[in-house]
C-alpha cells in the first residue's frame, strides 16, 4: 500500500534536515520504538513494538537512509522481523521545500507485511500503515517545533498498554491466543 502526506513545520529547512538525521529524534518519532542504535552514517538497528489488529509483536530490524540529497530529500526504509507474527517492511521518500512559515515536508510511504500479520491483519493493514506514517510525521513535527507534550500523547496512543514490561508484553495472552 502507498501513502502520501505533507506537514508544514515551523522550522528552517536546515533544522528539519538535521532532525531527520538525528537517531534520538527518529527514535522518539517512530511509534513504538524501544531502541535505536546508529551502526553507520546511514544505518541503524531498531526494536519496535507494534500492534496490528489482534497481532502484537516486537520487531527487530534495520533502518537505512538512502538516496540522500543533503538538505533536500532522502529515503528512510526499514525491515523488521516479528518472529511468529511475521515481518513488516516499509519506507518513505521524504522531501523538504522552503515555504512561508517554515519548511514543507512531503512524504510518499509504502508498507508491506508478511506471515501472520498478513493473514490475520490484512484488513487492518491499510489503516494501520496510514496511521503509523501519520503518527511518525506528527511526532516529528512536534519534536522539531518543540511541542513535546503532543509527542508524548501520540506515543501513549501508539503503544497501547505499552507500560507493561517488555517481557510481559511479549507473552501477552492475546498473542498466545492467535499465534
Amino acid at each position: 500500500m502507498e501513502m502520501q502526506g505533507e506537514r508544514l513545520i515551523e522550522a528552517s529547512r536546515n533544522e528539519v534536515w538535521t532532525a531527520l538525521n538525528d537517531p534520538e529524534v527518529l527514535k522518539s518519532c517512530i511509534p513504538g520504538c524501544e531502541e535505536m542504535e546508529k551502526t553507520s552514517a546511514t544505518e541503524f538497528t531498531a526494536t519496535v513494538v507494534q500492534k496490528v489488529g489482534p497481532v502484537k509483536a516486537r520487531f527487530k530490524g534495520a533502518v537505512e537512509l538512502s538516496d540522500i540529497v543533503p538538505g533536500e530529500s532522502y529515503t528512510i526504509s526499514g525491515e523488521g522481523k516479528g518472529g511468529a507474527a511475521g515481518f513488516a517492511r516499509g519506507g518513505a521518500k521524504v522531501t523538504l521545500a522552503d515555504q512561508d512559515g517554515g519548511t514543507l515536508l512531503s512524504y510518499a510511504a509504502e508498507a508491506r507485511v508478511g506471515g501472520k500479520l498478513a493473514q490475520l491483519g490484512n484488513r487492518l493493514i491499510n489503516g494501520f500503515a496510514k496511521k503509523v506514517a501519520a503518527d511518525f510525521f506528527d511526532r516529528f513535527q512536534a519534536v522539531v517545533q518543540g511541542d513535546t507534550p503532543e509527542a508524548e500523547k501520540a506515543d501513549a496512543d501508539a503503544a497501547e498498554g505499552g507500560d507493561a514490561p517488555p517481557e510481559e508484553q511479549k507473552k501477552g495472552w492475546l498473542k498466545r491466543m492467535i499465534s
Binding site: G83, A84, G86, F87, R112, V113, G114, G115, K116, A118, Q119, L120, N122, R123, R176, I178, S179
Partner: protein, 789 residues
C-alpha cells in the same frame, strides 16, 4: 410403512452417541507417555532461497528436545504424488520433489522449514522464534496466467511453470473445431472456479511413536485413509516396512478431501519419534491449517458450446488453467484431468467434446481434491454455459436441458469423453425438481419480491458425477499409481455377533450405522449385533479409504461380498449339522433350512458350531466363520440430479439471499434415507458456501490474506434456506451388488451453478451475464454498475 432397521431404514446414527456427548476419541485426545510437542517454523514469504538456518540459540532454549531441518532428513524421500498424468506430447508430468522440510528454497507461505520438538508446545514455539533464518526473497508467481507467460519459475524442473499440458480427447479436437466453426450459435463463457479451504472442524493432528524394543512405529493421524498413508509414507518416504508401521486414524472431525493426502507433518513426527526416542504430537492451529492443508478448486476456464437452431448441443470446447500450487499433493494431477475432463458430457448428448488443461505451479499452498474434486468444476462450466445459451437463444433453461438430456432408454450410454454411464433418468429428476420448486407460482413470488424492492432470480442446474472411485483397470490406464478397490473382513464371533473390518474410513458419513444396516439385512439379524471397525491398519486387512463418494458403492460392496461368503460357509456348516446336501440349504431371516423339509438350524447354532466343532470333515470344512473380500468395481457409478434455486437480490447493496433451494437426486438405491438427506444438506451447504461466500485470496506477494475465519467466510446456518431434498427418482447402479451410487459429494457439485444462475437471472435485464464466485455483495454490486455503464 418405513422399515425400522436394515436397508432402507432411517436408523439413527449410532456414532452420534459418542459425538454428541463429548466422548469421541480424536487424534488430539490421544496422549502417549513421555509425549513431546512439535512446532513447525514455516515460511513467511512465498518464494525464497534459504541461505542459512541458525538453530544454535533455539537449541539451548528451555524444554527443547530436538530441532530438525532438511539436512537431518537427507535419507528420507519426498512426499509422493499418487497420480501421473501424461501430457499431450506423451511426456510424463513434471514432478518436482516435495521435501518434508524445505530444501534450499521455500515455495509458498507456510512451507515448513524447521521443526522444534520440546517438552511443551509453548516451549517449542518460543524456541522457534530464536531460529535465525537467512532467506533471500525471490519474486513469487501467484497468478496462473503470469506463471505461464514468463513469470518467475517455481521449480527448475518446470521452467514455464507448466506441470502438464493435457488434451482430452485429442482425437476429438478437429471435429470439435469444425463443429464450432460451422454452428448456428456458439455460446462462450470465461469463468473462474474460486479457490477454497476445506476448514474441517477438526484441524489436522499427528502423533508419532516408536517402540525401540520392538522396532515398531505407530502414527496416529487425522486421515481419511490410514492404509494409504501407511503405504505412501512407509514405502516412499521413510522406508519402513508395513509390519513395522501401524497407522491409526481414530475419530476424524471432517475431511472433505483435505485429509486424504499424505502430509509432511505425518512423516516428520513418525521419523522424529525414533530420532528423539519419545512420542511427538503435532496439532495444527487454524491459521496453520489455512496455509498447510491442501486447498481446493482454483480453475480458470474458457467454455465454448456450439448449438444448432433448435438448441441441440453440437460440440463443447473447454480450456482450463488448473492451479497445482507449489507442490503436487497426493491426488492433485487427477482432479483437473480424469475427474474433470471425463464429466464434460454432463447429462447431455453432446456428440464431440475437447478440453485442454494446463496444470500450473504457483507459489501458493498445494491444491488437491475438495468435496466433488473436478466434477464441480466440470458441472459449473457446463451448467453456467447452458444457462447463458438458453438466455441468448430465448429458450427456457429447463426446456433447453431436456432437449439435450440422454434419454432414459439410451443406457448404457457411451460418452465422447471415455466414460460409459450405466443408468440414469435425467428428465425424471428435472421433473421432480420442477414440481418441488412449484415453478407454476414463480411469477407471483417474483412480484412479491419486487414489492419488497428485491429482484428475484431462478436458477436451474443439472449435474452428473462419477463416483464409486474407481475401477482399478481404468484408473490404472489413466495414471493412478494404485488400484482403487476396497477391502472388508466380516468376522462372526462364536455367539453370533458380527465385527466388520472395513477399509472405508468414517469421518462424518455415518458408516458405522449404514454398513451395519447392510449386514443386518443380509444376515437377518439385529443391527445392534453388528459392529463396524475402521481406521486402524492393525485391525483392518487393507483399505483404500474414503473419498469420491466411494464408501457404500465400493466399501459396502466389499462387505456384501464377504457376507455372501459367510452365508456360503454357514450353509456348509448347516448342511453338516442337518446331514443335508449343501445345495439344498437355503438361508433366510437368520435361519438355515433344508428346502422342502421342516429341518432348520438358526444363525446362533451355526456360529457357535463354527468355533466349537467336534466332527467337522476337516478336508472340506474348516472351523471359524470369517471372510475377507477385495471388491474392485467394474465401472464408476453415476449419481445425477436436478437442482433449483431461487434468490432475492438487493440491487442497491448487492446482497444475495437464498430464498429457496430444492434438490432432486438419483442415488440409485438408498440404505439410510436420513443419512443421505444429511449428506445432501452438507454438500449443498458447502457448494452454496463456495458460490456465495468462500474465497481463498493471496496478495501479489503471495501472502495468504484470507487465513482466518474472520477473513474466510464459511457458510452459517442463517445463510442457508430450509432445503427441499428428494431422492425418490432411483435408477439403481447396474454393476454393484447394492445398486447404490453414492451421495457424499452431489450437493457440492450441483449447487454452485444453480445459485449463480439464479443471481444472473435476477440481474439479466440489467445486462449482467456472469458473475464469478463468490457472488458477494461487492461483486454483485460491481457487476450491476459495470453492466449499466
Amino acid at each position: 410403512m418405513p422399515k425400522d432397521q436394515g436397508i432402507g431404514a432411517s436408523s439413527k446414527r449410532r456414532e452420534d452417541v459418542r459425538f454428541l456427548t463429548g466422548k469421541g476419541q480424536y487424534t488430539d485426545d490421544i496422549n502417549r507417555p513421555g509425549q513431546t510437542y512439535a512446532y513447525f517454523l514455516r515460511s513467511n514469504v512465498a518464494h525464497g532461497k534459504i541461505n542459512g538456518i541458525d538453530t544454535s540459540a533455539a537449541a539451548s532454549a528451555p524444554g527443547v528436545v530436538g530441532i530438525f531441518t532438511a539436512k537431518d532428513l537427507e535419507a528420507a524421500g519426498g512426499v509422493p504424488c499418487g497420480w501421473q498424468v501424461t501430457d499431450k506430447h506423451g511426456e510424463p508430468m513434471k514432478e518436482p520433489k516435495h521435501p518434508i522440510l524445505a530444501e534450499g528454497k521455500v515455495c509458498h507461505v507456510g512451507d515448513p522449514i524447521a521443526a522444534v520438538i520440546a517438552e511443551s508446545l509453548n516451549q517449542a514455539r518460543d524456541a522457534a522464534e530464536l531460529i535465525d533464518l537467512d532467506i533471500e526473497e525471490l519474486p513469487p508467481v501467484i497468478d496462473m496466467r503470469a506463471a505461464i507467460s514468463g513469470g518467475p519459475t517455481v521449480h527448475d524442473e518446470a521452467p514455464d511453470n507448466i506441470c502438464f499440458d493435457w488434451d482430452f480427447i485429442a482425437d476429438n479436437k478437429e471435429a470439435v473445431d469444425q463443429a464450432i466453426a460451422g454452428a448456428h450459435h456458439v455460446t462462450t463463457l470465461t469463468l473462474t472456479n474460486n479457490r477454497l479451504v476445506a476448514n474441517a472442524v477438526e484441524p489436522r493432528c499427528a502423533i508419532g511413536e516408536y517402540d525401540a524394543a520392538r522396532d515398531e512405529h505407530t502414527l496416529y493421524t487425522t486421515s481419511q485413509n490410514p492404509h494409504v498413508i501407511r503405504l505412501l509414507m512407509g514405502a516412499f518416504v521413510l522406508s519402513i516396512p508395513e509390519h513395522k508401521l501401524r497407522v491409526v486414524a481414530p475419530d476424524v472431525g471432517g475431511g472433505f478431501g483435505s485429509k486424504i493426502y499424505h502430509y509432511a507433518e505425518e512423516a516428520f513426527v513418525t521419523w522424529a519419534a525414533k530420532a528423539v526416542g519419545r512420542p511427538i504430537k503435532w496439532t495444527a492451529d487454524r491459521s496453520e491449517s489455512f496455509m498447510s492443508d491442501a486447498q481446493g478448486r482454483d480453475h480458470q476456464t474458457k467454455v465454448e458450446l456450439a448449438l444448432d437452431e433448435n438448441g441441440k448441443f453440437l460440440a463443447l470446447r473447454c480450456e482450463t488453467l488448473a492451479n497445482m500450487g507449489a507442490y503436487l499433493s497426493t491426488f492433485a494431477p487427477c482432479v483437473p484431468t480424469y475427474l474433470h475432463g471425463t464429466l464434460l458430457s454432463g447429462n447431455y448428448t453432446t456428440p464431440v467434446i475437447h478440453t485442454n488443461v494446463k496444470a500450473v505451479f504457483t507459489n501458493t499452498v498445494p491444491v488437491d481434491a475438495y468435496r466433488g474434486a473436478g466434477r464441480p468444476e466440470a458441472t459449473f462450466q457446463l451448467e453456467r454455459t447452458i444457462d447463458k445459451a438458453a438466455r441468448e437463444m430465448g429458450i427456457d433453461p429447463v426446456e433447453l436441458r431436456k432437449r439435450n438430456f440422454i434419454a432414459p432408454d439410451a443406457f448404457p450410454y457411451q460418452t465422447p469423453v471415455a466414460v460409459q454411464y450405466d443408468t440414469g433418468n435425467y428428465g425424471a429428476t428435472m421433473d421432480k425438481a420442477v414440481a418441488m420448486a412449484d415453478l407454476d407460482s414463480y411469477a407471483a413470488r417474483k412480484t412479491a419480491s419486487e414489492a419488497k424492492g428485491k429482484r428475484r432470480g431462478l436458477g436451474i442446474a443439472s449435474y452428473i458425477e462419477a463416483c464409486g472411485i474407481a475401477p482399478s483397470s481404468l484408473v490404472g490406464a489413466l495414471g493412478a499409481r494404485a488400484g482403487l478397490y476396497e477391502a472388508a473382513t466380516v468376522r462372526v464371533n462364536p455367539t453370533g455377533n458380527v465385527a466388520v473390518m472395513t477399509g472405508s474410513h468414517s469421518h462424518g458419513q455415518g458408516h458405522e450405522t449404514t454398513f451395519a444396516q447392510v449386514v443386518a439385512e443380509m444376515l437377518g439379524c439385529d443391527e445392534a449385533n453388528v459392529d463396524i471397525v475402521h481406521g486402524d491398519t492393525a485391525k483392518i486387512p487393507f483399505g483404500m479409504g474414503t473419498y469420491g463418494s466411494r464408501s457404500i458403492a465400493v466399501g459396502g460392496s466389499a462387505i456384501v461380498r464377504s457376507v455372501e461368503k459367510i452365508i456360503e460357509k454357514g450353509k456348509k456348516i448347516a448342511a453338516h449339522l442337518m446331514e443335508a446336501a449343501e445345495a439344498d440349504v437355503t438361508f433366510a431371516d437368520g435361519q438355515f433350512s433344508v428346502a422342502g423339509t421342516d429341518k432348520s438350524v438358526d444363525w446362533g447354532t451355526v456360529a457357535l458350531t463354527a468355533y466349537v466343532p467336534h466332527n467337522f470333515p476337516h478336508e472340506t470344512l474348516e472351523p471359524g466363520l470369517e471372510e475377507t473380500s477385495f471388491y474392485d468395481p467394474a465401472n464408476f457409478t453415476y449419481p445425477a440430479g436436478a437442482y433449483i434455486c431461487e434468490v432475492e437480490v438487493d440491487a442497491d447493496t448487492g446482497k444475495v439471499d437464498i430464498a429457496s433451494f430444492v434438490a432432486a437426486d438419483d442415488f440409485g438405491n438408498v440404505i439410510n434415507p436420513m443419512i443421505v438427506e444429511g449428506q445432501v444438506h452438507g454438500g449443498l451447504t458447502q457448494g452454496l458456501g463456495q458460490a456465495l461466500l468462500e474465497n481463498c485470496v493471496y496478495d501479489e506477494n503471495g501472502q495468504l490474506v484470507s487465513a482466518s475465519l474472520m477473513d474466510y467466510a464459511m457458510p452459517r446456518a442463517d445463510d442457508m434456506p430450509s432445503f427441499g431434498v428428494d431422492h425418490s427418482c432411483q435408477t439403481p447402479c447396474t454393476h454393484n451388488p447394492l445398486g447404490v451410487k453414492g451421495c457424499g459429494e452431489a450437493g457440492a457439485i450441483g449447487s454452485p451453478p444453480a445459485l449463480v444462475n439464479a443471481v444472473v437471472d435476477a440481474l439479466s435485464d440489467l445486462g449482467v451475464t456472469h458473475i464469478d464466485m463468490p457472488v458477494s455483495p461487492g461483486r454483485v454490486w460491481a457487476a450491476i454498475q459495470a453492466a449499466q455503464n
